[in-house]
């Protein structure tokens, strides 16, 4: 590690230590469930694994093994340690296997995700029919977050441990095996699997699997055939088991085989048959197989990325259009281009400093021209290379080309200009370029798609042709990116080099016939203004051709006027004096691509070579809008203190404290709450601090039935020694809420008038029902923040990557940056000015304006809490936003259990959280529209407690059970390693794209290449510059438009304007995928709905005969109302009419409308008035 990096991490860790010390003092007072900070620091992956699992000594062993072998091998080695008792303190064989399996999953998921604790419920030993014992692993839904490889390996580890322990293999009964087959199918149909194993595969796996895969029911759907089995507890589908069998074993068989081969103890010879598909001796009719094969083939075709067209020599190299991204089109989220359609986004290769890791760059002018539907961070569903991408602004690529109402066609490369002209846009002829970095193709294993001809490619060809590029670059009068027409023509003719891309038009998008017509029209044209302006007669073909070619021009009623016309004319084979220099095109040029592509024709008649300007168009539609919002539970929670139903739907603590009971007592409520005992004076209380002597209390476990006081065992489980039931420290008590509330106000000397409302919770969901001190809630509401289920204050943001920033754009100064330890800019020059570009360090993050504001409130809350509740000095003292710079936060993603420490370096007006891609990857996120949260460091340290976490499956997900204080690039999601980090791509790369080569076969440096070297934290170069990382609209129009109707109008209006979009298809799809399913679904839901009591929330499967609530006598009402059923009816009908949808679609709507009338209108009481007569 470089000294510079060392200093950086030390800085972060010393601030962390400082905070820990303060938090430790606060917590040590005993006012919280535990008298210590509950988020342990993990320096590395080994630490995280140990902390998440809570098994001592694992970390040490992991570190030992890490140096010697791969992670997978280490998992197996650890399994041996568990089996032989060297690691973990388990007596039972089942316990040893459980420890080994959990550790394996934790290791393979870098100790970040919750799968090892939430995804594996338990391991137990059961009896085979021959009396031997076998292993049953009980999986749960969250195993999903482990991914296929870890899932599969967990089975292997279980089997390996089993063999060491000398247990027998599982011998499945006939009906159990068939149950697997039925259940996997059921789950696939209901929830969907990434890989759907064929029946015979499921049967084969189930038959050969040496351990039993079991799990808890995850769905409501039950199997119909193999029910009520002896050794299977449930008839419902077991999601965890299905995932492991299908996405784990079946899909990852080759990977597991690699490890079984190395192990003597484990022999899975059947894997080979599974991989080869040579499963025989199975009862399976060939019909089914043939049918499935057929449907597989179909699926493959749809999925096919490649589109090899070697068989068709008379066409250009193209990738096949894919329309999958258009499925499930939603009202209000526009389509930006139909698959590979001319006029859509043009693929350009390169990486801007804010690109990579599942993002795509578009020009900010494009964002404005498409009516602001795209903003920084908006997710799009895209045709390729991935499925989705986060949008980032890049202004060094080309913007959109539009036709204005004035008849002018021009490209817009300036966002300001886009805003000015936007209202005058009649047609968007082209969306501009779409920047994707090479690494994306590697990550998605997508063959390279033919590259657009761009200056960075041209200049390399120019140099290769013998030009002195260096001299030209040094010449202040020459702009190689954007030369004059004269220069471009001269270079193209003087050197054996294609024409500069600036003057290369999209010849491949017009048919040969149109080319001929255009050439003739230009030859017939007239020169004006001393030869500067070419005027040709306007005809529809000429006009369409020029618009398609993206030639800037002005249309009048009679004529079309073109400036800078010479490259166009030369490309058409027309000389400077407007003489057409050719008579007839060769047969080859005329039939190229069936005559729909004039690029050969142009190359034939032009005195220079012309490359294809935009061979790859990328279709896209809007996915999710960007996000930057505080996370509130619904209803918001200020304090995790139970107030029963007395607080009403607002959960108002003050109201609950006032409410009088039958005996005339105010604020006394019976509730389930923690039972604790003071170790000194034995006072019983629910509070964490003894009200009598101030000592920290401990949970008191007493078996409800036997009244035996129990102690937790080493694993933290509490079991009654008499009845062997699990015991919790929760019990029913009467709590004087009024007294508690008043007491809390008093203790921090707060007045009720200083805050609007204090919201509590109806009841606690944690095992021991440990309440939080009400004081914390009072201070939260006072500072306008609310709490998540674990006691922390959170703010959600869409993730975006950035590898270099300018202090200026982050609304901070070079001073700030120097204060943070940044000394030089990206070129190694001393950092002096606010606009210098600086390479971002891996744990530094940029907060959105909203997040910063929320963090300030949180900081104020934390300071107040420290001073008034803990009696300690304030920690933050934030007066203005700049004070947040340098402060630490936690970044934390859903489905994970490890927080990553980050440092705030600046702010962005975009509604996103920009950070180094490695920071996002450490949280196991990519940036294709994913979102996750930040928490203020001290808030997490002071207020998080495991005791608050819900006692249910998944309760420990999304909770900071451990924190990573520094990022080790080797221990993050390896997706981030596929990002390229070079300054330019070689000429050979561009040439390879034309061959649609496998991206791995091209040599461009990616993050992976620096792993483990001293440069692993630096040198993230980029190929394209961008002025500012938050150009374009600050919010997507999707968020600023009000009603669904407005959004949809805007969506359809945009569809009308975009040349690459078929508006009827959009309307059709919106109806087909959004309105009809909504209408049909809601109508069905209406007529089979459940009902609910408005007063006590009791739910009824059917309307009670008494009409009222059987629980409380309250008002029962429907859960699905007429309004929610027919909300889209009129809109859908109108859209179908307006956009000329198919009769079939219209009829479906009409029939539905009649159904609605029939259900919701009284035949005998229809409207009749004079207005109704006509």
């Amino acid at each position: 590690m470089r000294a510079d990096d060392e200093r950086y991490f030390d800085r972060i860790e010393s601030r962390l230590d400082e905070a820990m010390a303060v938090a430790q003092r606060a917590k040590g007072q005993g006012k919280d469930p535990e008298p210590e900070v509950e988020i342990p620091i993990a320096q590395d992956m080994a630490d995280r694994v140990e902390n998440i699992l809570g098994i001592p000594n694992v970390a040490e062993r992991v570190r030992e093994l890490e140096g010697q072998m791969s992670r997978e091998e280490a998992a197996l080695e650890l399994a041996k340690d568990f089996a032989e008792g060297r690691v973990g303190d388990y007596d039972s064989k089942a316990g040893k296997i459980e420890g080994a399996v959990r550790t394996a999953v934790a290791l393979l998921t870098e100790g970040v995700v919750a799968a090892p604790i939430e995804g594996i419920d338990r391991v137990e030993l059961l009896d085979n029919d021959d009396g031997t014992q076998f292993v049953n692993v009980y999986y749960a839904g969250p195993i999903r977050s482990a991914g296929g490889t870890a899932q599969a390996l967990s089975v292997l580890v279980a089997d390996y441990t089993r063999s060491i322990l000398g247990l027998a293999e599982y011998k499945g009964r006939e009906e159990e095996i068939e149950r697997y087959v039925e259940e996997i199918n059921l789950y696939d149909k209901d929830t969907g699997l990434q890989y759907s194993p064929k029946d015979k595969e499921s049967r084969f796996i189930a038959t050969n699997m040496p351990i039993m895969l079991d799990g808890e029911a995850t769905g409501d759907l039950e199997v119909s055939g193999y029910r009520d089995l002896d050794r299977v507890d449930t008839n419902a589908s077991r999601g965890g088991m299905c995932l492991v069998a299908a996405e784990g074993i079946a899909l990852k068989a080759p990977k597991i085989q690699r490890y079984t081969r190395q192990l003597e103890e484990v022999d899975w010879p059947w894997l080979q048959d599974l991989i080869d598909g040579t499963i025989d001796g199975e009862k399976d009719d060939s019909d089914e197989e043939a049918e499935e094969d057929a449907s597989d083939a179909e699926a493959d075709e749809g999925e096919s990325e490649n589109g090899d067209e070697e068989g068709e020599p008379d066409g250009p190299a193209r990738v096949k259009p894919k329309s999958k991204y258009l499925l499930d089109l939603i009202a209000g989220r526009p389509v930006f281009g139909h698959p590979s359609e001319s006029g859509g986004f043009r693929l350009r290769y390169g990486r801007a400093r804010n690109l990579g890791f599942a993002t795509a760059g578009v020009h900010p002018a494009t964002m404005h021209i498409i009516d602001d539907f795209l903003a920084t961070g908006t997710q799009i569903k895209t045709e390729r290379p991935g499925k989705a991408a986060g949008i980032i602004p890049v202004d060094s690529i080309e913007g959109p080309t539009v036709k204005l109402a004035t008849g002018e066609v021009r490209r817009i490369d300036d966002p300001e200009e886009a805003l000015e002209l936007r209202n005058g846009v009649e047609k968007i002829l082209d969306l501009g370029e779409y920047l994707v970095n090479y690494g994306e193709f590697v990550e998605n294993n997508h063959p390279l798609a033919p590259a657009s001809y761009a200056p960075e490619w041209w200049v390399q060809e120019f140099a290769a042709a013998g030009a002195d590029v260096q001299a030209l670059q040094d010449d202040p009068h020459v702009d190689l990116e954007s030369p004059t027409a004269t220069e471009a023509l001269q270079w193209a003719t003087d050197y054996d080099c294609p024409l500069h891309p600036k003057y290369t038009y999209v010849w491949h998008d017009i048919p040969v016939e149109a080319f001929e017509t255009l050439a003739a029209a230009v030859a017939d044209g007239e020169l004006r203004e001393g030869g500067d302006l070419l005027v040709v007669e306007r005809s529809e073909t000429v006009q369409t051709s020029l618009e398609t070619l993206l030639v800037a021009h002005q249309q009048t009623d009679e004529t079309i006027e073109i400036r800078d016309w010479l490259p166009l004319a030369r490309s058409l084979g027309v000389s400077e004096d407007l003489t057409k220099e050719w008579d007839e095109l060769s047969a080859d040029a005329r039939t190229w691509d069936g005559g729909d592509n004039a690029v050969k024709a142009a190359n034939e008649v032009a005195p220079f070579d012309l490359r294809e300007r935009a061979p790859t168009r990328i279709g896209a539609r809007m996915g999710r809008p960007e996000k930057s919002e505080k996370r509130d539970l619904s209803p918001a929670v200020h304090t995790l203190f139970p107030i029963t139903e007395a607080g009403g739907s607002q959960r108002d603590v003050a109201a609950a404290a006032r409410e009088m009971d039958e005996q005339g007592r105010r604020g006394v409520h019976r509730m389930q709450i923690n039972q604790r005992q003071c170790p000194d004076c034995e006072t019983q209380t629910f509070k964490s601090q003894c009200p009598d002597c101030g000592v920290h209390t401990e949970p008191h476990y007493e078996c409800e039935d036997c009244e035996v006081v129990c102690e937790p065992d080493e694993a933290g489980r509490v079991e009654c020694p008499r009845c062997e039931r699990e015991v919790t420290a929760a019990e029913w008590q009467e709590v004087d809420l009024r007294k508690e509330y008043r007491g809390a106000l008093e203790s921090i000397t707060e007045r009720e008038g200083n805050f609007e409302i204090l919201k509590g919770v109806q009841g606690l969901t944690s095992a021991n029902k440990t309440p939080e001190a009400i004081e914390k809630g009072i201070l939260r509401t006072k500072h306008g923040v609310s709490s998540f289920k674990d006691g922390t204050v959170r703010y959600d943001m869409t993730d975006l990557p950035v590898t270099a920033v300018k202090p200026e754009e982050l609304d901070v100064t070079a001073d700030h940056f120097r204060g943070l330890g940044y000394e030089t800019d990206i070129d190694g020059d001393p950092l002096r000015h606010d606009d210098q570009l600086v390479e971002l360090k891996v744990q530094d993050i940029v907060l959105s304006d909203g997040a910063a504001e929320h963090m300030i409130k949180t900081a104020d809350f934390v300071d107040d809490l420290l001073e008034r509740f803990y009696g300690l000095p304030a920690f933050y003292d934030v007066d203005e936003r700049d004070d947040l710079v340098g402060e630490l936060v936690f970044g934390m993603a859903p489905h994970t259990s490890a927080a990553v420490v980050g440092r705030v370096v600046g702010f962005t007006s975009a509604a996103v959280g920009y950070a180094h891609p490695y920071f996002h990857a450490a949280k196991r996120r990519n940036c294709d529209g994913d979102e996750d949260c930040v928490m203020l460091l001290m808030d997490g340290l002071l207020n998080f407690s495991r005791e608050f976490l819900p006692n249910k499956r998944g309760g420990r997900m999304d909770a900071p059970l451990v924190m990573s204080s520094r990022i080790d690039p080797a221990e993050i999601d390896d997706e981030a390693h596929n990002m390229d980090i070079v300054e330019n791509y070689p000429k050979s790369f561009y040439e390879a794209t034309l061959e649609k080569t496998d991206p791995e076969s091209v040599d461009i440096k990616i993050g992976e290449d620096t792993l483990g070297t001293k440069d692993q934290y630096r040198g993230f170069n980029h190929t394209h510059s961008t002025t500012d990382i938050h150009m374009g609209p600050s919010l997507s129009a999707y968020k600023t438009l009000g009603s669904m109707m407005d959004k949809m109008d805007a969506q359809l209006e945009l569809a009308r304007k975009l040349r690459a979009v078929d508006e009827t298809d959009v309307a059709e799809r919106v109806i087909e995928y959004h309105f009809l399913p909504d209408l049909i679904g809601n109508l069905r839901a209406f007529s089979s709905q459940k009902t609910r009591c408005l007063d006590c929330d009791e739910k009824y499967r059917r309307m009670p005969l008494s009409g009222e609530c059987r629980e409380c006598g309250g008002r029962v009402n429907l859960t699905v109302h007429q309004g929610s059923v027919n909300k889209y009816m009129d809109t859908a009908i109108e859209v179908a009419e307006r956009f000329g949808c198919r009769e079939y679609t219209k009829q479906r709507l009409r029939i539905l409308e009649r159904s609605l009338e029939s259900v919701f209108e009284n035949d005998k009481n229809k409207q009749s008035g004079i207005a109704d007569f006509m």
Binding site: S224, L1076, I1080, L1083, R1084, F1086, S1087, S1088, Q1089, K1090, T1091, R1101, R1102, M1103, P1104, L1105, S1106, G1107, R1110, V1116, N1117, L1118, H1121, Q1122, V1125, E1143, Y1144, Q1147, R1148, I1151, L1152, R1154, S1155, S1158, V1159, F1160, E1161, N1162, D1163, K1164, N1165, K1166, S1168, I1170, D1172, F1173, M1174
Partner: protein, 532 residues
């Protein structure tokens, strides 16, 4: 063809090219048969007039006889000169619209088409001595749907179910309300009638049935070793049952000794026709589907024209006339006729192949273009005007149709899927769909279980209750043929006229295609004709 609202009358007049005085609309709306009256008025109004006058209407209404009975019309207008029965028409020509049909014999413009058809079919039914009586229909929701989708209407519907079914059980137990049983002491004897609210098996394998009446719920425990435990297998949620038993010591639960369902009395004796006459019971024609068996249908229609079929005077169709649109995703790719109205046109054409002197009754199914929620009203004006052939009687699903004194309960049969899924194989299966029908007869309700796949539209009463025991119970939907008698009630599930679809292939359903069950209405014996 009720033109029940003034707006429709105005529309209808406008279609003929006339404006109308306001009084005209009122008068027409008040006529016995507005449609017929309107037609007459249109005839009487000069072609060059722009406006229908009140005078014309009064004059016409006064002079024209009451609208004739459609069935009678059919008989009257059948040409009687032709005697050939041996060469039935294969493909009836498309009818041409004639306008000279005497007003006196035709009730509405719809019948014009039919009359034309019959006239243009010179050989066929001419010699037939069919003289079906008009079907009497009860329990039809059509035109009576008053539900507006409010909570209290759902409650009303279920209360009506409880009220009417509990009446049927009243003879067997002496019902005490749930609230009263709740306050009875431990060990007392108790009897209760309720809707099944919940069925659970306990940890030790006994059955816990929660029964509900209008006062509340009460749990009833059926011990697994009792004989009545077998009955629990047949129970569906929301059906009405009666129990008799003893309260537990803490009086929180009833131990059930006897359990009763409304059922059809064993002593039930069906009514029969007093002459030899037959009815064909079919369903699931699915015109418009690529799998519709047009040839088989034509063979069936041809056969009806033969002497052998002379006594088949009634044709009952239990839903799914057409394949419909949007019934399942991407259905358009499997449709032969994509336009729903064209589908009904085509169906109507196929119906015309059937002898014109038969009395036809049709109810809709889940593929038809009516609401899916049950009870389903019959086809609306637009569809009726398309399916005008034979002036078929169109009714809701379900409906009880009485022909020649024999009552036939027609129900499309969507609930059969649920019954088959819920009950054990031997009690109900796709191979023996009539057994599933027995269950519905026992429960005296065509679709007891609420929620899930069952869609219910709330109405002022529960149209799905089987109040009166029918003589024949006719369903379709599952595309399987099956029939049998349950306590002397003939249950018939007719097959279909659609060959196996891709979907059915996937789920391994082999439909019974092109069978026509023929019932002797004088004996309730059944024969099945096969036309595949």
């Amino acid at each position: 063809m009720p033109l029940e609202t003034p707006s429709r009358i105005v529309q209808a007049l406008a279609e003929h090219g006339y404006n109308a005085e306001r009084e005209v609309v009122t008068l027409l709306a008040g006529a016995d048969d507005p449609a017929a009256a309107l037609e007459t008025v249109v005839e009487a109004t000069p072609d060059n007039a722009l406006r229908v006058t009140t005078a014309t209407v009064r004059q016409t209404l006064d002079s024209s006889p009451p609208a004739p009975d459609p069935a009678a019309v059919t008989a009257n207008s059948t040409p009687s000169a032709n005697t050939s029965v041996s060469t039935p028409t294969k493909n009836p020509e498309k009818p041409t619209q004639t306008t000279d049909t005497p007003v006196e014999t035709e009730g509405s413009s719809d019948s014009v088409t039919r009359a034309a058809t019959t006239e243009e079919r010179p050989n066929g039914e001419g010699a037939s001595s069919r003289s079906p009586q008009p079907a009497e229909i009860t329990g039809d929701i059509t035109g009576r749907s008053t539900g507006t989708g409010e909570y209290k209407q759902f409650v009303t519907t279920f209360r009506d179910r409880y009220k009417r079914l509990s009446k049927l059980l009243g003879g067997r137990v002496n019902h005490r309300p749930a609230s009263a049983i709740q306050s009875m002491g431990g060990g007392s004897e108790a009897e209760m009638i309720g809707l099944v609210n919940d069925i659970r098996s306990t940890a030790s394998g006994h059955w816990l049935i929660e029964l509900e009446d209008t006062t509340g719920t009460f749990p009833a425990l059926v011990m697994k070793d009792r004989e009545i435990a077998n009955m629990v297998d047949d129970l569906l949620l929301d059906e009405c049952i009666a129990v008799q038993g003893t309260l537990a010591d803490d009086s929180g639960i009833m131990f059930v000794d006897s359990l009763f369902v409304p059922d059809v009395p064993r002593t039930f004796r069906p009514s029969t026709a007093d002459r030899h006459v037959q009815a064909a019971l079919i369903s699931d024609v699915h015109v418009g589907s690529q799998e519709f068996m047009a040839d088989a249908w034509n063979r069936f229609a041809d056969w009806l024209h033969t002497e052998e079929a002379e006594t088949v005077e009634y044709l009952l169709i239990a839903g799914d006339m057409v394949e419909g649109v949007g019934v399942y995703p991407d259905q358009d790719e499997e449709l032969d006729i994509v336009d729903i109205f064209d589908q009904y046109e085509a169906f109507s054409e196929h119906l015309k192949a059937v002898p014109g002197d038969m009395e036809i009754v049709m109810i809709p199914g889940n593929h038809d273009a009516v609401r899916l929620a049950e009870p389903q009203p019959g086809f609306d004006e637009e569809l009726r005007s398309i399916m005008s052939a034979h002036d078929a009687r169109i009714s809701g699903n379900p409906s009880t149709v009485t022909i020649e004194g024999v009552s036939v309960l027609m129900y499309h049969g969507v609930s059969l899927d649920e019954v088959i899924a819920e009950l054990p194989e031997e009690k109900a299966s796709y191979d023996e769909p009539h057994k599933a029908m027995y269950q519905l007869l026992k429960k005296r309700h065509v679709a007891p279980k609420y929620g899930g796949k069952m869609r219910l539209a709330p109405e002022e009463k529960d149209y799905l209750v089987i109040d009166e025991v029918p003589d024949v119970f006719h369903t379709g939907h599952v595309h399987k043929l099956g029939w049998g008698k349950y306590h002397n009630v003939l249950a018939v599930n007719s097959g279909c006229w659609q060959a196996q679809t891709e979907f059915q292939k996937k789920v391994n359903i082999d439909p019974d295609v092109a069978h026509a069950p023929i019932v002797d209405l004088d004996t309730l014996n059944m024969t099945v004709r096969k036309f595949a």
